[in-house]
Symmetry: C2
Subunit: 114 residues, 2 copies
């Protein structure tokens, strides 16, 4: 099943920050990693990811540095900052609250044992 695009909105930043929490990563890698962990449910496009990363850097949530990788290619590695960590925490709490409330509404419409 394919996920409706609009559902993705709002959670992309949460997903990206979650990945960066484990260590620095570069753009292309994050796209592949998101696809892998979600069993190809999340297939983030480059045109989506890069603007988000630039925005996060602009607000100080991540920092980047260009570096040559082992394969000789130049990559731009992103690292999460202290501000990024607290942003991640906020987003995580919002996500938990949001899913809880949605489930409260739709769950009420589909009572388990009634």
């Amino acid at each position: 099943m394919q996920i409706d695009k609009s559902l993705m909105a709002g959670s992309t930043t949460l997903l990206i920050l979650s990945l960066l929490r484990e260590g620095e990563k570069y753009g292309y890698e994050m796209i592949a990693e998101l696809a892998r962990r979600s069993d190809d449910t999340f297939q983030l496009k480059e045109g989506t990811l890069y603007p988000i990363l630039h925005g996060l850097e602009k607000e100080g949530a991540v920092k980047s540095c260009r570096r040559e990788a082992e394969n000789g290619r130049e990559r731009k590695y992103y690292r999460i900052t202290a501000a990024g960590l607290s942003l991640l925490e906020e987003k995580t709490q919002q996500w938990a609250l949001f899913t809880e409330k949605v489930n409260a509404v739709i769950g009420a419409a589909v009572p388990a044992g009634v």
Copy 2:
């Protein structure tokens, strides 16, 4: 805590159809009901709800009829159709899949026992 607006995108239709599954309702009532069940987390605006209802009616997921209520006011009651029920089922499954995958990604970043 206030939920980021963009998180709402995509799930509004699911919420509305869920409400209508229990029986016919009118617009103003749905807004109040959503707020109540979500402890005021979801405060849908009229400018958001009515266009959605019109769209759902256009695609045959709901049907409406104007009727005078006990209080003498004229209301527009919406009823979910068979097509609406299958749309609801699809949206519900998408929601379940989506939350599962998001949790897989962000959960992987915060392993419980490691």
